[in-house]
Structure formats: structure tokens, C-alpha cells
Point group: C2
Chain length 370, copies 2
């Protein structure tokens, strides 16, 4: 099978490695605007051959993955389709409607459009660049596919099989639904983080105060603030409609909170927090295919080696940590570790093990800031 890669960064590079190591007889031809990336891709044997244009990369290919930044996707996909042939063209962008809308531009024939199936693998992001590409990046990962009514069934099936052979789980989803979901669980949190960090910076500056050590919630909520401005500018723009709707709905909800605060209705406030509690728990459990998740808090001296000691004790006993957060105190000498552990038995075992180490530990009924 011949594959074409347009863009050989982390995702494109990992597709190349996965194809070359897991598909018998796969040959990968790659194109990238960066000469350096292309050279490195050849050196790392991510691709068999470097092409000097999109059309050259696609020539003779059966599957083409367009792996370039969201802002450049629509154009690159159009070029890959315009190169003709019998190739199914997909992409790996984190928004899907904009690429499909881009197919409506003049110049593409219906036969070409039918060869496009959008995609979005939920993997990557720890670091960019072909130097971090791995053949196993997609093992077990959901890989959304967003075929339209116009997509060829035969080519969809070819793409599906290819992605499956990378170890991923292809999951069909409507492009609009995909974009609304991403707006909710990814784009909206990024917007909130950016706004929150700005509001806090101004408030602290005005009051000539440092950030009080009390805010694990603030630290969590602003962790992604300022993420890669050029990339996220394009993500926001390419999913404008859905993000606008999410923001409007969010503003509406904040209005409801304001009304509850102004009325001073303690019962309504408590009920609202209770609902959030059960909703978060349900989302975490769904994510783990139904298993319960327990949160533990451990008080520890904040010095090198403690996190290791705790994690090691749990690791040796086979207790897996689903999620973790560290909250150092202001002095950086004491702090808390928040642990989320799968399964009630895992949580009990974790409490025992950490207790043996001599650190105060407890399941969290409360938590948050102090």
C-alpha cells in the first residue's frame, strides 16, 4: 500500500512510523514545507521517500493524510484532492466543519470531493515535531472520522482499515457534532483559562499582591492559558460557530449563578453545586467505562522524592493512578497530593499504603481551596 503524508510533524511522523512498521509492504511518501522536517523524517525512517510537492506526494497513493496546522488544512486538502487518482484523502485537524466547507470552493469536481473523509485522532500533544513521532502513538486511541453523505463507501472502508492497523479505534461522528463536542470540552476551557488569567493578573497588579498560595483551583483552571497562540488562533477561528454558541450558553449560565447569588437562595446554590458534583463524577466514570473513581488527598512535606515514594508504593502494589495534582504550599516545604484512583478497592489499598508511609491521607468528601 502506498501512503502520502502532507506534513511530517508529530502526528504525520507517527502515522508514517505506524504504517511502515504495521502494514506489510507499506511505502510512505512525504511532503513538508519544512526541508528540515523532511530530512529528519527520512533519517528517522518515518517516510521512504520525500516529495517536492503535494501533487507528487499523492501521485500513485491509495491513502493520503494531511497533517498540517488547522489554518492551512482546507487549502492542502483541496490540493491533495485536485491531484486526482483513486486516493482517499483524510486530515487530522482538531476541527472538522471548516475543512468540509472548504471543499465547496470552485475547482473541485464531485468525484474528487467524494474521496475526502475528515479525521481527528485523539493522541499526541505532549511535544510537537517529527523527533517525537512514535509508531505506537495511536494504540487504543479514538480516531474520529467524519464522512459526509458524499463520501465514497469503498474509500471510507479503506481509510477505516488503515487507521485500525495503526492500533487506533476509528469512530464515525457527524462533523458538526464533533465540532460542538470539541467546543465544549476543549475550546471553551481554553477560552476560560485565557480570560481568567488576564482577570487575575489585573486584580493582583492593582492590589499589589502576589498570587495567594490558596488557589489550587486557579492553578488548575489556568494551566492551558496562553497555549500556542498561532495554533489556537486558528483552532478558534475554524470552529467559530460552535465556540460562539458555547460561549453564549456559558454566559447565560453565569447569569443564572448571578441571580442565585443576588437572591441569596442558599438551597438553590447548594443544589447547583450538588449537581456539578454528580455530573463530574459521572463524566469521570463514563470516561473509564463505568468504573468508580475515588479522590484521595495526601499531606506531605514538599521535598524531592516524596511524590516518587508515594507513586512507587502504589505502583508496586498495582494501584493505577488515573489523575494526579500537586499543591505545594507557599513555603514550598509542605503540600498536598491529590490522587484519583480507579476502583474502590484501589482507593482502599492506596489509603493503607500511604498510611504506612506515615503521611496523612483521606478520601476527599470535600477538597478545593481553603
Amino acid at each position: 500500500m502506498n501512503l502520502a503524508l502532507i506534513g511530517v510533524g508529530l502526528i504525520g511522523g507517527s502515522i508514517g512510523l505506524a504504517a511502515r512498521t504495521r502494514i506489510d509492504g507499506a511505502r510512505v511518501r512525504g511532503f513538508d514545507l519544512s526541508e528540515g522536517a523532511l530530512t529528519l523524517a527520512l533519517e528517522r525512517e518515518v517516510i521512504d521517500e520525500a516529495a517536492s510537492s503535494i501533487a507528487e506526494a499523492v501521485d500513485g497513493a491509495e491513502v493520503c493524510f494531511v497533517c498540517c496546522p488547522v489554518g492551512a488544512l482546507a487549502d492542502a486538502v483541496r490540493q491533495a484532492l485536485a491531484a486526482g487518482g483513486d486516493c482517499v484523502v483524510s486530515d487530522v485537524g482538531s476541527t472538522k466543519r471548516a475543512v468540509i466547507d472548504g471543499l465547496e470552493a470552485p475547482g473541485l469536481q464531485e468525484a474528487d470531493v467524494s474521496r475526502f473523509v475528515g479525521g481527528h485522532p485523539l493522541a499526541g500533544a505532549e511535544a510537537s515535531g517529527v523527533e517525537h513521532a512514535r509508531a505506537d502513538l495511536f494504540d487504543g486511541a479514538t480516531w474520529y472520522l467524519t464522512p459526509t453523505q458524499r463520501a465514497s463507501g469503498m474509500l471510507y472502508e479503506r481509510l477505516y482499515r488503515t487507521i485500525s492497523s495503526f492500533g487506533a479505534r476509528p469512530t464515525a461522528i457527524d462533523a458538526g457534532t464533533h465540532d460542538r463536542l470539541m467546543a465544549t470540552v476543549s475550546h471553551l476551557p481554553h477560552v476560560l483559562a485565557n480570560v481568567l488569567v488576564g482577570q487575575a493578573a489585573r486584580a493582583l497588579l492593582e492590589e499589589r499582591q502576589r498570587l495567594p498560595a490558596t488557589g489550587p483551583s486557579f492553578r488548575d483552571a489556568t494551566r492551558v492559558a496562553g497555549t500556542n497562540p498561532a495554533v489556537w488562533r486558528d483552532v478558534f477561528l475554524s470552529n467559530r460557530g460552535a465556540i460562539e454558541a458555547e460561549l453564549e450558553s456559558f454566559v447565560g449560565e453565569l447569569g443564572d449563578v448571578l441571580a442565585r447569588l443576588r437572591s441569596g437562595d442558599a438551597g438553590a446554590l447548594e443544589g447547583w453545586i450538588e449537581r456539578a458534583r454528580s455530573e463530574r463524577q459521572r463524566l469521570l466514570e463514563l470516561e473509564l467505562a463505568g468504573g468508580p473513581v475515588s479522590e484521595l488527598r495526601v499531606s506531605v512535606p514538599n521535598k524531592p522524592g516524596i511524590v516518587a515514594q508515594v507513586a512507587l508504593a502504589l505502583g508496586e502494589a498495582g494501584v493505577n493512578i488515573v489523575d494526579m495534582a500537586l499543591y505545594p504550599a507557599a513555603d514550598m516545604q509542605s503540600g498536598a497530593i491529590a490522587l484519583w484512583v480507579a476502583g474502590e478497592r484501589g482507593a482502599q489499598r492506596a489509603v493503607e499504603l500511604i498510611g504506612h508511609l506515615g503521611y496523612p491521607v483521606a478520601p476527599v468528601a470535600d477538597g478545593g481551596d481553603f
Copy 2:
């Protein structure tokens, strides 16, 4: 010195232990609405003596700490002051205006009011209850004090010295300023987390979808959603004014984001994200007294022992981890660790050490979701 504790939970209990172990000749008398907590406090030698009322606890005391939930604070403080004597009365609540306003209720004399100085130690929260109390809980912690114009200077000084002897750093701040700061860095993030989790739960339910594994940002932003409804209801209510102002300002900012999205102004969007980036960096660095903080991402197999291995390698080399987050992939078999490390040298060293372990690691220029 005689101390009175009204409420012997985590904070009250830790004050008792700190006083009894660090102040020569300290005698601590405690009162709690819970018989069980009081018995346990005696057993753990947190207090010397149990009182059967607030007045009895305060009788003959020189310093009294009211350590009960925010909703019950104003009333307990009034009772402690009404008991008379020469005792400075303080509290440990996370909002400060409401207690001070409570002093205006009829029945208290000016001389009594002058004996109150509000306080808020930035410590605790990992787990509640006297069983988790520790003498060293306040070591190095900021302890806000909010004296009013009416407070006795002599009594303020007595309180200041007592708190210093617990190992904490008393820091005077205007009560209103304190509450605005807390509204920004703690209460607002809790509101946003609650709203966000609700919006996502509805969206996912509507679309019959599970939470996509793509959302480290969502996980971070909703970690405190649903935190202790009864406690947070009272925190929200007791700081209504400041939270309302923060929410209104936040809604205004979201309106600006909406305008930028609607106009499709790429430059304005990018500039806004750039500002958030530098604001977050500045806040982190201020928090660490000016030192730079570097973010690293490590790709790891998600199995027991890996976090330990990484943390151990850094710990043994003396590299301190300022903040940490785990992002398991959907399959729970691979994932990423985000590490924040203080100092450029620390970051370089961490990259070397983790590289030796064989895991891909890189300083983050991007990050966020994928």
C-alpha cells in the same frame, strides 16, 4: 498563655497542636458542637481541656480562634466577644467582610468589637477533621490578618506574635481587598468549574457521546467542580458582592472574546492569547518569588511505577517539581506527564534525566489539547 479554640477540626486542631508544642506554658481549652470531635481532640492532646460552651472556652483566655464553617462564623465570633474579658478573638474563615459586618449587629459594645481581628491561614484543605491536625501545618504559610480601624493595636500585636510562633507569616491586608482577591483566584474558578461541568454533561448526554480523551484542559478546569456543596454555598454567600463583581467582569471579557471571534480578526485573537501566555508566566514566577518556571512534557506508558520512576530520578538529583499533571490516554496504557520545574538549570537537568530513562521529553512551547 491561655488559648481558646471554638471548633477543633483540621485548622482548629492544628492551632491547638502548634500552640501546645511551640508556646511555653500554653494551655488550650476547646469547644466544639461535635462531642466526638472534642473527645478525639482530648485523646490526640490537641487541647488540654474541653469546654461545654463558647463562653466557658473563652473564660480567662488571652487569644481565641474561631474555627468553624464560614456560615456559622459571624455568630460564633459574636458569642466569643460577648463573653468579655481581655481576649483577642480571631477567626480562620476564607472570607472576611461578612464576619466584620456581623459585628454591627446589636448587642456588642465598642470595647468588645475592638478585640476582634479577622484572619485566614493559607493552609489545610487536604482533608478535614481533627484526625488530620498537625503541629506543622502552618510552617511558612501566609496567614492573612484583616484588622479594622477599630482594632486594638496591643491585641493585634498579641495575635501577631501568637501566629508567628506557629511558624506562619502573618500578613496584614484590608478585608475587602482580601475578599476581592479570593473572589478572583478561588471563588470565580470554582463557579466556572461548576458551570463548565454542567454544560459538558448536557452536551455529551444530548449527543450520546463519552467525554473525548482529548481534554486535559477540561479535566483541569473542572477538577474542583462540585466541591463540598454545603461549605461552598456559604463561601459564595459570604462573599457575594465580590463574586458578583468578578462574574460581571468575566462576562464582559467573554463578550470581548465573542466580538473577536465574530469579526474573525486573527491578529486580535493571537494577541489576546499571547497576553494570556505572558500573564500566566508572570503569575507563576511571582508566586515563586521571581524565579523562572519551565514546563516539560513527557510521553510515557501509563502503567504503575512510571510516575514514581520519573519523580525519583528528579528527586535524587535535587530537582524540585513545582506542579505536575497526568494526562492518561483513552486506553489508559499511554499518556503524558506535564511537569513544571523551577529554574532553567532544573529544567535542563530534568530533560537530561528523563531522557536517560528513555522517555520522550521536551520543554513545552505549545501544549494544551490536541
